[in-house]
């Protein structure tokens, strides 16, 4: 990076940290640290909800995924507006009126302590892993740009983020998220504009759409019913619906956000805000990936985008083999580039026969380039003894090489700030669940507020260290965005089942909820071992299993009074 980029990066980074420090002075007690004394406006909460979900992983993993597979990933986001409505109608009133600190605290009022503890524990496990992946994403960018070892990068990032989180508390985190999210909007717009400006002269929006369409990169809706196909309208609308409902309705990192709003109405409005904005935002982020695909019709891309992996291959016995693949890629890419430029001329001349011939040539070369990329990634994987996660390097690789001075620093700052704000939120949520659901509940129920605040900050620190350890192993996983969703999918469906049981089935009791939860997780793990079902369906399976077993066990063990809970409306 140039000194100007470093200046922009430092200015923005320092500004955000200073802002967090300024906001941290408003923290008073545990309720201030975890819930901002329940006084924030809907717009701030809404942007924070969005920023927490859209971390650096969104920029790096999603754009890389769109580069390889097109827009089909958007289907997972399509049910989110409906999810927001259901949350407003069903979930938010229960949580908000119960005046709880954590979502799981509500379950003790409704069921019993063991159900609360188990759900909170599952949250800690799944979100603890996800926090590590969120930390890993910006570490990739830093390692590519600065050439640092990823381990060193992760350790540095973790240290800064933990310090920032300890200083902040939820008030600082949410107001910082507002800035981060606005910067993300700017970053998306800037990336799209820059991508268009780096295309050859005369290549317009229509040409970009056309070239992407030859490989069906703009395909956003897939109506096929194949359950092993990861992204279809059905897995998106059904599996994605359950995933999103579980994430926004039972994950403390999101529930904690809308519990900070100043009223029930403000909480609901923060979610409706997300209902309207989330899908368009994701559409534009994925478009960046497809635009990269089109851009690399005119510029030769690296065969494998992860420079560090390529360097390892070049030091191995397979170097010659890799160079041969690169040579062939250069030839095939040149042919495709020529055909693409000729296609643009043929389109202008409205020469349909020529257009059809050139489309066939481009499609043929596209397929060969995909094969070469797969072969190269195979070589990398064999040399390294681990699968290549090249997809996460596509966008960083582009911005380093093609983004103008000054803008590069801005985009890097946006990616880092987004990651830090998500990690902040997750550490705060992990800390709240640890302290409220375990420490205060089981070990020190009557300590002073100052004591809990101290323990809360200590817990934030410990979770930060844990996230650091997870991040060190994240490189062995595939696309980061999928990895985070996959981790969640093993638990989320079952967690959602417990909450739906609480809200919707009045005769349910603690025994039913607890054993339903165990059965739900067992079903998901069992099916994941013996079938090829796409991970999005795990959420549906887990939810259904919990409801079925929960209702049956509740009926068999004496109904709602069997475990001492207060019944369906008891906590409201």
């Amino acid at each position: 990076m140039s000194p100007i980029d470093w200046g922009v990066f430092a200015l923005y980074f320092g500004g955000v940290v200073a802002f967090a420090w300024f906001q941290s002075r408003k923290n008073e007690g545990v309720e201030g640290y975890f819930l901002a004394n329940r006084r924030l406006p809907w717009a701030a909460v809404g942007l924070s909800v969005m920023a927490t979900q859209a971390s650096a992983i969104t920029f790096i993993g999603t754009t890389g995924q769109a580069f390889d597979e097109g827009m089909e990933f958007i289907q997972i986001y399509l049910p989110q507006p409906l999810v927001m409505v259901l949350l407003c109608v069903l979930f938010v009133p229960f949580f908000y009126r119960a005046k709880v600190y954590t979502a799981y605290e509500y379950l003790e009022n409704r069921f019993d302590a063991k159900t609360r503890s188990l759900t909170s524990f599952l949250f800690l496990v799944s979100r603890g892993l996800a926090a590590g992946l969120v930390l890993y994403a910006p570490a990739i960018v830093l390692s590519v740009i600065m050439g640092w070892d990823e381990t060193v990068t992760i350790l540095i990032m973790a240290a800064v983020t933990i310090a920032y989180t300890l200083m902040g508390g939820i008030t600082a985190v949410i107001w910082t998220d507002v800035i981060q999210m606005l910067m993300m909007f700017v970053g998306i717009a800037v990336a799209l504009v820059i991508l268009f400006t780096t295309l050859p002269d005369g290549v317009g929006v229509g040409d970009v759409a056309y070239i992407g369409g030859i490989q069906e990169m703009w395909t956003s809706i897939d109506w096929s019913w194949d359950p092993s196909n990861r992204y279809t309208i059905w897995s998106g609308m059904i599996g994605g619906f359950f995933l999103a409902l579980a994430y926004f309705g039972t994950d403390q990192s999101q529930v904690q956000r809308y519990l900070t709003a100043s009223s029930l109405k403000q909480s609901r409005l923060s979610l409706i805000f997300n209902a309207f904005l989330k899908v368009p935002m994701q559409f534009f982020i994925l478009s960046i990936g497809v635009l990269l695909f089109v851009f690399y019709h005119f510029e030769q891309p690296p065969l494998v985008f992860n420079n560090a992996e390529v360097a390892v291959v070049m030091e191995s016995e397979r170097a010659e083999e890799y160079r041969a693949l690169e040579t062939e890629q250069a030839t095939v890419h040149g042919e495709r580039r020529t055909a693409t430029l000729e296609l643009l001329e043929a389109r202008e001349a409205r020469d349909d026969a020529r257009i059809a011939d050139l489309q066939t040539i481009i499609a043929d070369r596209d397929e060969r380039l995909v094969e070469l990329r797969q072969e190269a990634k195979g070589v990398v994987s064999e040399v390294r003894g681990a699968s290549s996660n090249d997809v996460n390097y596509v966008f960083p690789s582009y911005i380093i090489k093609y983004i103008p001075v000054g803008v590069l620093g801005l985009l890097i700052a946006v990616i880092f700030a987004a990651a830090m704000s998500s990690l902040d939120s997750e550490l705060t949520a992990l800390s709240s669940a640890t302290v409220i659901d375990f420490y205060k509940r089981w070990f020190r129920p009557d300590a002073s507020d100052a004591h809990y605040l101290l323990v809360s900050k200590l817990s934030t620190f410990v979770w930060g260290v844990m996230a650091c350890f997870v991040a060190l192993f994240a490189g062995q996983l595939g696309s980061l965005i999928e990895a985070v969703n996959q981790v969640g999918s093993y638990f989320y469906g079952s967690l959602l089942g417990v909450f739906l049981l609480a809200f919707l089935w009045k005769p349910a009791n603690g025994h039913g909820a607890f054993w339903g939860l165990v059965a739900g997780m067992g079903s998901v793990f069992g099916l994941s071992l013996v079938t090829e079902i796409a991970y999005l369906w795990f959420n549906v399976i887990g939810t259904v299993a919990v409801l079925a077993v929960g209702i049956a066990v509740s009926a068999a063990t004496g109904g709602p009074d069997a475990t001492g809970g207060k019944g369906a409306m008891g906590a409201v």
């Binding site: 009126r97 069906e216 703009w218 956003s220 309208i233 209902a275 499609a363």
Partner: protein, 52 residues
């Protein structure tokens, strides 16, 4: 801070910005979702130039 004397029903009544009620707002989100799917489907069909 919300008014502690405000009942749940009070918070649920009245217009929400340009929407006459929560129910109208929720239905607008449902219609918006259907439109999103429709627009993306049109997008998929219009920009599919596959030779296969």
């Amino acid at each position: 801070m919300s008014d502690p004397n405000l009942t749940h029903d009070d918070e649920d009544r009245g217009p929400i910005g340009i929407f006459p009620s929560w129910r109208a707002l929720y239905w607008s989100v449902v219609i918006y979702t259907v439109l999103l799917v429709a627009v993306l489907w049109i997008f998929t069909v219009v920009f599919n130039h596959s030779v296969h």
